[in-house]
């Protein structure tokens, strides 16, 4: 059998900010997250091939923004060019509406139905199937803690409890200052860096209960 001594040896562990453990590598947070390659993505979606795939949650939401104007209109039109049927633009359009407004209200569903010439009931049916559509408004920061098996083995439940405690909220409710909504989420595909937490569109990995106050601090200060 192989070398058992490694188990008790020092654990190489580096963490650039909150992007996760970088183990054997020396990388900045921007490098891990890809920010330095991607830069700031334009709201018009850049090349049409990627227009359907942009962020879905921002801190600053505009619940009354029109669907769609300016660069968002451009992006919506680019989305329409990518599929053989208009119906296929439904999810990307809902994603776009949520990115702008923060949640998908019955009114938004109606407007999207008109935009894509689909029955309103159909749009409702589809929207309710997918968990990432917020059916009601959420806080500036939507905090989703993974408690599925790999994270759970390493303390996911405790991290969830810490977020609830430090934001002073209950599961699914928004804090009184409107900043935080905490929810439980299924596996985020970051099981090797438990506990994985998604805050708005960003992943925070290797989160421990002790690290929670600093994350909340950072959110208030940096807005992401």
């Amino acid at each position: 059998m192989s070398d058992h001594t490694k188990a008790s040896g020092p654990i190489p562990f580096r963490n650039p900010g909150w992007a996760g453990n970088t183990g054997s590598f020396d990388l900045t947070e921007a490098q891990v997250r890809g920010d330095d390659f991607v830069g700031v993505r334009p709201p018009d979606g850049g090349h049409p091939s990627g227009a359907p795939s942009y962020p879905y949650m921002k801190a600053d939401k505009a619940p009354d923004a029109p669907l769609f104007e300016g660069p968002y209109r451009e992006r919506f039109e680019k989305i329409l060019t990518r599929y053989p049927e208009t119906r296929a633009a439904l999810l990307p359009t809902l994603n776009l509406a949520q990115e702008l407004r923060g949640h998908i209200s019955p009114d938004t569903m109606r407007e999207v139905a008109v935009l894509l010439d689909l029955p309103e009931a159909y749009v409702r049916g589809v929207t309710s199937f997918y968990t990432m559509y917020n059916k009601k408004p959420v806080g500036r920061f939507l905090i989703q803690v993974c408690t599925n098996i790999s994270c759970n083995l390493c303390g996911g439940d405790e991290v969830l409890a810490a977020f609830l405690k430090h934001t002073g909220t209950e599961l699914g409710a928004t804090s009184s200052d409107g900043d935080f909504t905490v929810m439980e989420v299924e596996c985020l595909a970051a099981c090797g860096t438990p506990t994985a937490v998604q805050i708005n569109s960003r992943y925070y990995e290797n989160v421990t209960p002790d690290g929670v106050p600093a994350i909340l601090e950072r959110l208030r200060a940096r807005g992401e």
Binding site: T22, M132, A189
Partner: protein
């Protein structure tokens, strides 16, 4: 250079370049020899590309392990209209986290693989369906696709060969079931992600009612290397029936969890103790789920001689799935973890089939009752009974996946259940 840890026993083919931000760029990918395979493939007759992939023995990395070249050859010989390639980047099986790393470190590897596959199956348009949560990874991918369009690698008349292939990055919106191939197609079409009854199979009637092939991210990432170096070269790694390397996603109670690229057939014990550094001092092995939450659980004795290839894991009593190895030490409360997995399936069931919709809910409730110390020994029989009724009776295998950890944990960790039931006491709860 797997990420976040490296190990000298790794064989890095797909993960070469991980942890190096330069490989995200077109320039960086070309510096590693990128897009040479595409040039080569586009000038080969498409039948030859399929034959090379068949010769490599590559098997689908999305879970089922179906031979990729054979799957491609199911597509119509004579094209009668549009055809599609879907890349399955919906990665949501608990314990699996390899596709995300492939997307965010080596996006051009995936783009190249998609284009070669699209040529081989005569697809006009590639849709990369990414789970909606993958914001960072998808931004990197979309940027890379943009670069490839600008360089004339995607779009009309690719590299002057007269071949046209479009590629679109598509984001889902949170539903595990959309990883099932026909549910993914429904979701892509703007419908609820409900699995379809097969037949017809996707190669006949797939996305938008047209012939479609669907492959996992890791499967497609292996393709450029196979085309470049040949099927025989790929077979140098792995075993006779499970060729090549595989990304192992190791999570749970080991010192260095993470992704490791190893040849198929690698011994499970070496993965745990050598590659991942074993357990924390004073802890020992209790159980392993070798292929993501959908496969039967293995106890310590079954891990002893288990090798990690499609056949080896079946022999040990489970399945390789997507090689998501979840490792549990002796502090683990098995009943709680099984209940958590069943909660997941109950939440993610699409609700079309009664055994799955009702069965997962019932199982979750009974398991919670046992966990809370209010269970009876009869409950275990009820669970096994339910599991039988949920297996092989539904449209997709999500239902079977929910039953597998329950049945296997009752068989192998009966004492944990009994302890809770008899004494109302939780085994292992620290």
């Amino acid at each position: 250079m797997a990420f976040p840890y490296e190990h000298e026993r790794e064989v890095r083919i797909l993960s070469r370049g991980w942890g190096d931000p330069r490989t995200r760029t077109l320039e960086g990918w070309k510096a590693l020899g990128g897009y040479q395979a595409l040039e080569k493939a586009l000038r080969m007759p498409r039948g030859e590309v399929i034959d090379e992939v068949k010769a490599s023995g590559l098997r689908g990395r999305g879970g089922a392990g179906f031979p990729t070249g054979v799957k491609w050859s199911f597509m119509p010989k004579e094209k009668t209209g549009p055809q599609y390639l879907c890349c399955n980047a919906d990665e949501s099986e608990p314990g699996t986290f390899k596709d995300r790393e492939l997307l965010r470190w080596t996006p051009h590897q995936l783009i190249e693989g998609c284009l070669i596959a699209a040529h081989a199956i005569q697809a006009d348009h590639v849709f990369i369906y990414c789970r909606g949560e993958f914001f960072e990874a998808v931004q990197v991918l979309a940027r890379a696709v943009e670069e490839a369009y600008e360089a004339g690698l995607i779009g009309k008349d690719i590299l002057g060969t007269g071949i046209d292939i479009e590629l679109t990055v598509h984001s889902g919106a949170g539903a595990y079931i959309c990883g099932e191939e026909t549910a993914l197609m429904n979701s892509l079409e703007g419908r609820r992600g409900l699995p379809r009854i097969k037949p017809p199979f996707p190669a006949a009637v797939g996305a938008f009612g047209r012939p479609t092939t669907i492959n996992n991210v890791e499967t497609l990432c292996a393709v450029p290397h196979i085309v470049q170096h040949g099927g025989a070269w790929y077979r140098e790694q792995g075993t006779e029936k499970s060729s090549g390397t595989k990304l192992f996603c190791v999570s749970g109670h080991v010192v260095r969890p993470g992704n490791y690229e190893l040849p198929l057939g690698f011994p499970l014990k070496d993965l745990i103790y050598d590659v991942c550094g074993g357990f924390r001092p004073g802890r020992s092995l209790k159980a392993v789920i070798p292929g993501g939450s959908s496969v039967p659980i293995l106890n310590a004795a079954e891990c002893e001689d288990c090798t990690l290839d499609y056949e080896g894991v079946v022999e040990a009593g489970s399945m390789l799935g997507c090689a998501s190895v979840i490792i549990m030490d002796d502090t683990t409360d098995i009943v709680k973890q099984v209940r958590r997995m069943v909660d997941f399936y109950a939440h993610e069931s699409c609700g079309q089939c009664t055994p799955c919709r009702e069965g997962t809910q019932w199982m979750a409730r009974i398991l919670r009752r046992i966990e809370e110390g209010r269970g009876t020994e009869e409950d275990m029989d009820t669970l096994l009974d339910l599991g039988d009724q949920m297996t092989g009776t539904t449209i997709c295998v999500l239902s079977d996946s929910a039953a597998a950890p329950v049945a296997s944990s009752i068989a192998k960790f009966r004492d944990d259940y009994l302890a809770l039931i008899r004494r109302g006491e939780r085994v292992g709860a620290a």
